[in-house]
Symmetry: C2
Subunit: 236 residues, 2 copies
């Protein structure tokens, strides 16, 4: 096996906290809708609406807000007030402007790896949201390539690998989602490291046995990445 | 001057019709809000809301729909009904799924140019919307590079030129917006062709004298691009 030269990182819930922001907002939305409907029903219905709209809105905060409004209208039988709708829009605006909370040890790890490896970001979501988060994270300087994509399929990775003439044997993908970060890269014959995050969006969950035949590494914190690289590449 | 080898096209209102879709939807929104407020006030207020939200939502249909909802809530003093809000969301979903209407002579022109030049797309907007439009336009095959960006500034063009190691002297940008397609490229020392479209979004309008010192070509239809190229490059 060739030595790793390029390390690509997922961003949301790998470099910085993201899903808890959605979880918090879902809970706030439930309390706005409490006069109309039981919280448990809202959660289920909201997820259904999000999934139904995914092919129209894609990932990201704006589509999420539109799905929240749609759910609110439906579950209140149209009785939701204009003021409550505005509250939901404002929650979205707050999400967009939320300060970036880096995951512990991310900066230290990037500082270390950056000296020896070419680092890139491959992140899924809304172009505008993601660019803004990268800028606010103050991490942009570590990455020579930043790719924001609408979906993380095998095709997406193959296109990126091709575009930058990356040798797949020298490539390592690091991320919190088995479905989006680990599986597609392994299926293309590449190597991947799974760094689970405590909260995973239902949509990103996969049936465990899907990964049974795959070889990937799993670490508890991004800081162990240096050790993994020593294992993979041998002592420097 | 070097011969042009790479031609980059804007997409919305250059390759396909876009702004009229927004204009139509604005009018529909005005008729939904007619019981609450005069259409002329709605138009002004909606534009204000769009501009105020631009730094949060970026360009694209989802941000536009959120701004319509916000305007509707405000102008109706919160009296807008859930049913009417849903109508606004549905208008957005219709926009997203609208069939792509190519501008006359686009396909023929690309078919011709494609044999001799490297063609690319540089388009601004929502990643998900734009990818979907490119796929539905059935034009993707003509382009070796497709770049979807959140803003078309000089920096954006400079980054793309650098990323693909393009020689600025061999580059030509074609688009309907002086502000986004022509000005930044000319300011970087590149060449640009302006193909005006009959409807321009207020935000894309610029003061004419801003372009007084710039040299760019203006054509009435994209089909004249071949003639322009003969002028620029000499007879083949």
């Amino acid at each position: 096996m060739k030595k790793i030269k390029i390390i690509a990182f997922d961003a949301d819930d790998t470099l910085w906290v993201n899903e808890p922001l959605f979880t918090d907002t879902r809970e706030k939305c439930e309390s706005i809708l409490a006069p109309y409907i039981k919280p448990s029903e809202i959660e289920e219905k909201l997820y259904e609406t999000e999934m139904r709209n995914l092919h129209l809105f894609g990932y990201g905060i704006k589509g999420f807000v539109l799905s929240m409004i749609e759910t609110a209208v439906q579950l209140s039988y149209g009785n939701i007030s204009g003021k409550e709708i505005q509250q939901i829009i404002n929650m979205g605006k707050e999400m967009i402007q939320q300060p970036i909370r880096l995951i512990p040890k991310v900066r230290e790890t990037l500082e270390k790896l950056w000296q020896e490896y070419e680092l890139m970001v491959i992140t899924k979501g809304d172009l505008f949201d993601q660019e803004s988060k990268i800028a606010r994270s103050d991490l942009a300087g570590f990455f020579s390539i930043i790719e924001i994509v609408s979906e993380k399929s095998e095709d997406t990775y193959a296109r990126i690998i091709d575009r930058y003439q990356i040798n797949m044997n020298e490539f390592l993908m690091v991320g919190n989602s088995l479905r989006s970060d680990v599986l597609p890269v392994c299926n293309l014959g590449g190597r991947a490291v799974h760094v689970p995050f405590h909260t995973t969006w239902k949509h990103e969950e996969i049936v465990e046995n899907l990964t049974e035949d795959l070889a990937y590494l799993k670490i508890g914190s991004i800081e162990h990445l240096s050790d993994i690289l020593v294992q993979l590449n041998g002592k420097a």
